[in-house]
Symmetry: C2
Subunit: 146 residues, 2 copies
């Protein structure tokens, strides 16, 4: 393992942490962009990486700010942070599960304005919005339950 160009190697190196297979494998997986649950991750990495190491790598990434956990529904999933991947907020359709990316800048500035008014300096935030997308709202789409 060498490649000191890619994102994660750089971060690890900068912190004096070893560049190891579990860490690279996790990063590559997350790099595909889709938020993954812990079990999706270690099933994907089965045989390659031990469960315990998956957890350790995930927690390391979170501590390093490389990744963070988000909630879809009410199980969390892991996703790379801004610096390594697109945006963070989206609508999730409760029926068809379509994900609609939100205008990040607008959200940020709204939060900032709000915070400023309360003389609060915001350092982090989580926003999740559930609802129905245009198609599903129009009815016609039957849902098993819910």
């Amino acid at each position: 393992m060498s490649r000191s160009e890619d994102g994660i190697s750089q971060v690890l190196q900068a912190r004096g942490l070893n560049i190891t297979h579990p860490r690279i494998a996790l990063f590559k997986l997350l790099e595909e962009g889709k938020p993954l649950s812990v079990s999706e991750i270690y099933h994907e990495l089965a045989g390659e990486v031990d469960r315990a190491s998956v957890y350790r790598a995930i927690n390391l990434f979170v501590d390093l700010g490389v990744a963070h956990k988000i909630n879809l529904g009410w199980k969390y999933k892991i996703e790379l942070s801004d610096a390594f991947v697109e945006h963070h907020h989206h609508f999730t359709c409760a029926k068809c599960h379509k994900v609609i990316a939100l205008n990040e800048a607008e959200l940020e500035s709204f939060i900032d304005r709000l915070a400023r008014r309360y003389k609060f300096s915001a350092t982090a935030h989580q926003i999740e919005i559930q609802g129905l997308c245009e198609k599903c709202k129009k009815g016609r789409v039957k849902s098993g339950k819910n």
Copy 2:
């Protein structure tokens, strides 16, 4: 157990559900206003209420719309719904843990406007914002940990 005036008893009664100790105890705990994690709840109720019953009561409350699960950071916590308790959004100061309530109407309308633009109809949302309050931002306030 009788008291048919308080919120939860009314709801239970209206649905023909029994008013039982686990349910009352959970409601009282949540009534204090602080969102609690499942384990906080059953540790608090240890000896009084069995783990399984805590889960059953929580799920019942959620089904009834009496409580709902929210995500703080990335573990979910349980909180009573609007009808039974104040508002849902606030700033939380990372140092002194002061909680600043936000202007709910403004938040709601922002979300709605945003959603409308994407032709998405929002039915629920969770927003959490971390940062520092005015005093702590100015420095001077030492924090034990965290």
